[in-house]
Amino acid sequence: MVRGKDSTAALENTESIAGAVDVSGFWQFPLEDELVVARPGVEGLFFFNSTARLLWEERRRGASAAEAARTFADLFGIPTERAQRDIEDLLAGWSAGILAPLKEGGTGGHAMPPERPGGAADAVPVDCVVNGKRFRVVLEAGDLVEEIAPRLAGLSLAGAPHERPDVTFTLANGEDRVLVFRDDVLIASEEKTAGARAILLQEMTRACDPARDVRAILHAGACGTDTRAVLLAGASQAGKSTLCAALMARGLRCYGDDSAVLHGDFQVAGMPFPLTLRKSSWPILESLIRREQLRIHTRYGVEVGYLDSNLPAGASPAAPVEALLFVEYQPHAAAVMKPLPVFETLLRLRGSGFWIEHTRADIARFLEWLTRLPRFSLTFSRLDEAADAVADLLAR
């Protein structure tokens, strides 16, 4: 980091850190005061707060770092030295991040796609029907069976296997990653078993309704009626699945408990797989869910309860999204729901996990949808209060 007694000299030196910002290869999406920027070749979004956006714009119009620091001091009434320090830090961050040269060869992947494994003797085939579509899922024995078979149990065929499934997925352990094949094509290689499970369930959902393009996937549950749904987002262990189960007990549909697949005009696609409930949530749900409704399995040495979906079988259900809630269970907290600005929502999505098709048009569509959508945070300790809040949103 360049720091000198003469602030102007120090700032002129930062010119060599970032240089004038050439944004010709970037996609830019202004929010209210903030900015979202994306780069082809980088699977992600850069979020700029309002002052970072101002600096970006100043640099775009050719302002030097020293001029930008003077502008900051002038507009915000802060000492030039502080503006200088903040600008230096940000320019250095840009230099190593958004403005860094892209690595050759893109963002990863296999140079030589591995071939789909043949019929290993210990592979476990699971035939199931999801939304009327016939699937065969072939799982390598071990972790993959432990992770995935209980998710398909409620949907699997009791009798004879499919003579000809519509789609076959094969999951197997590669050298250091879990490989997911659709028929003979490698569609994902994941670091973790649960990541491969997530891809499988998303792809099964996508295959049920191939006419609709998947726009985005959020780490969120989704509950509602037949015609509208609310997304329940949050980090792992925030209480999403527990709240989904409580809402199911009230007769609401659960469109999914950990992955909201948004397709078409951002309708949430129904994922008729069972909810996963940790043992710690069983007592909280005791008055709502009978213990015999849960299928108990041991996963990685820990007991987990699976609660079957209540989506109607056959069709591919989907519902328009009425609101996005970031839920957070906090012991002893009163239920409090607060509106979320769109930028804060994006920062929270960054924390919880999300995916968007990485094209300029898809990102623009996603941000436009998110800007229009009512957005809230909801902290709670009592499930009935949280469920009331969700029901109120659906009744609006």
């Binding site: 830019q28 850069f46 990541g195 792992s236």
Partner: protein, 66 residues
Amino acid sequence: MNNETQNRNVEESTDGKVTERREALRKMGKFAAYAAPFTVLALTNKAEAATGHGPGKGFNGGPGKH
């Protein structure tokens, strides 16, 4: 409005707002509220859109292959 038109307008409005925003800040009165500038990268990933990547990843993520 088609997508191309929509995107072009988004970019044009960015440019158009540069001066406006700086001037708007000036017109707010003495000084606008200051927050230190920051930029963060949000990586987008299908698997993490179901399993997350914060606390609890160990449980939700299950065993890794490394």
